[in-house]
Amino acid sequence: MSDVPEHGAGTEPVRILAPDGSPVGDADVGLSPEELRALLRWMVLARRLDRECIALQRQGELTVYPGFEGQEAAQVGSAFALGQLDFVWPTFRELAAALVRGVDAVQYLQYHRGTWHGGPYDPRATRFGPICIPIATQLPHAAGYALGQRLDGTNAVTIAYFGDGSTSEGDFHEAANLAGVWRLPMVLFCQNNGWAISLPSSEQTAGEIWRRAEGYGFPGVRVDGNDVLAVHRATERALERARRGDGPTLIEAMTYRIGAHSTADDASRYRDDAEVEHARVTDPIMRFRNWLLATGIADDRFVMACDEEAETYALEVRAGVIATPAPPADWMFDWVYAAPPSSFERQRAEALG
C-alpha cells in the first residue's frame, strides 16, 4: 500500500491557480465574469448531486453509483469549453460533464437506478454518447465519430473521456494511433484520478500518460485537473487545433478520486485514508471559489446562492429519480432488431406466460 510512488510524481502539470486559489499563471482564459461564475455554479451543483446520488444508493433508490467527487474541475472545465455541435464520448463517471452538456440528470440516473431500457437519454439530442462501462471501448467509437464529423464538412470536434486505467487497454492505443494518422478532430481527455478500482496509477503504467501522444505524432499536455481554469484553457486549445484541421490532442488531467470506485467498492481495503485527506487539500471547488472571491468576480452572496440552488436541485433530482417507474417486462424484445423476427412471438409467449 505505501511503497507506491506518489500520484502525479514526475512532470509538473500546467497550472493557473495554486491549491489555495492564488494565481500562478495567466488567469485570463477568455471567459467573461458570468462564464467564470457559471464554472463555479456547475461544480457546486455537480458535487451536491454526486453526494445525493450516493445517499440515494444507500437508501436503495439507485443500484450502483460511481461517484466523481474531486473530479469536478476536470469535467466541468473541459465540457464547458465545448461548442454546441461537439460530441462527447463518456465513460461511466462523467455525470458532471453530462450536466454541463444539458443532459437531464433524472434521465441519466435511470442508468444507475436500473430502470432504463434502450438507453436512459438520447445521445443524438444531447450530443453526449451512451454511458460506457466496458473500459476504453468508447475510444475507437470516438475516432470513427470524429471521422464522420469531418466528412460531414462541419468543424465539430469529438471529445472522449477516459481514466488512467483505460490507457492500458489495447483500444486506447488503436484509437489514438488512428486519430494520429488520420489527423482526426478529436480530443483524448484522460482524467488521471490516481486509481483504477484498487490499482494505483503508478502500477497501471510506468510512464506518464500525456507523453504517449508523442509516439502517436500529436501533442500531449499534462494539466492540473483540479484547476478549472487550466483545464478549460487546455481543452479550448485542443479544440481549436482540431477545428483548424491539425488533428488530435491528448490531455492528461491530474485529479483524484476522493470516494470509492463505486458504491459497491470498499476503498479502505487497498487505500490509506491519509492519502485521501492529503488530496482534499487540492480540492477544485475550494480553490476556484477562493480565486473568484479574491478577484471580486464573485461575492459571498453568489457563493451562497450557488449552495442554495444546489440544495434545491439535488432534492428535485431525488424526487424525479424516485418517481421513475420500472419498465414493463414485455419490453424485453424491444430494440433487439429493427423489425422483430417471427421467432420472437413464440419466445414472448414462453417467457411471459
Binding site: 471501448t137 489495447g170 497501471q204 420500472a326 417467457a351 411471459l352 406466460g353
Partner: protein, 324 residues
Amino acid sequence: MAELTYRQAVAEGIAQEMERDPLVFLLGEDVADAGGAFKATVGLLERFGPERVRDTPISEEAIVGAAMGAAMTGLRPIAEIMFSDFLATCWDLIANQIAKTRYMTNGQISLPLVIRTANGAGSRFGAQHSQSLESWAMAVPGLKVVAPATPADAKGLLAGAIREPDPVIVFEHKSLYASKGEVPEGEHVEELGRALVRRAGEDVTIVALAAMVPRALDAAERLREEGVDAEVIDVRSLVPLDMSTIASSVAKTSRMFTVEENPRLCGWGAEIASIVAEGLFDDLDGPIVRITTPHVPLPAADELEDATVPSVERIVRAVLAAIG
C-alpha cells in the same frame, strides 16, 4: 465437511492448488489487495505474496496472452477475467491462439492454463455485464469448459481444471457467489467431464447448468406437488460432456428438458438435444423442450431481467405444458 460460500470455495480451490504446486499463480484485475471484484480471491495475496497473486493493468489481452506465454514456460497460470462479457476483448488470444496451440504445434506445446470468469445474470448489470457465454467457449475446438453450480464444485472443478493439461475456461456464476454449501475437507478435486444427478426422479429429465441447477431443483419440488417426479441433472462440464449420465436418465424417463441461461440460438442445450434426438429417439415419448433465455440481450431493469432468464415458474409451466 465444511460449510463455505461459493466465493470462499473458489479461493480455497486456488489456495489448495497453489499450496500443492509452486508453478500455479494467479493474475487478473483487482485480484490482490481488493480480493477480486466478486471477493473470490480474498486472502490469497496475504497467503502467497505479490509474486504469485498478481494485479494487472486493465489489459485483458495482456492477461490471457501472458497466461499463454507463461504456460509455455511450464507455469500453470490462473487468469481472471472480471466479467465473462470481457472475454470478448481478448477472444483472439483465447479462440485463435490458446485453443489452437497444441494442435498447431503437433502437440509439442501444451497450455495448462485456466481462465476463471464471472458469468451470468441476477445482478441487474445489464447487457454488457450479465451474459451467459459458456456456449461461445463451447464452440471453440481445443478449449475445455466447466460451470460449477455448488460451492463444492466451485472448488473441486477449479482444482480439476488447474490440473488439466489443456486450457480450461471456468464460468463461475455471479448470482451463486453468496450461496452456501458443504465442501469436503482436505484435498478436493473433481475430474472434468462428469455430470451429476442432483435429484433422482422417474417421470422427466431436467438438464441444467450453473445457476439454473438450483432453479431446476426448486421447479422439481413444485412439480412433485403436481404429481410429476423430475430427475435433475447438473451438466457441470460442457467440454468434455458426459452424455452417458444424461442418456441413462432419458432412457429411464423418456422426456428431456434443458434449462439454459444463455440466449436461445446455439445454446449448450441445443447440442445435448441433438445428441439425444440422434441416439435416443426411440426412447423419447415426446419432443425435447429447451427452456432458455429468449434471443435478446440481458436487460438491466429488475422486472425485465427476471422475466428474461428462465424462472422456476417458467420451468414448471413448460414441463407441465409439454407432458400435458
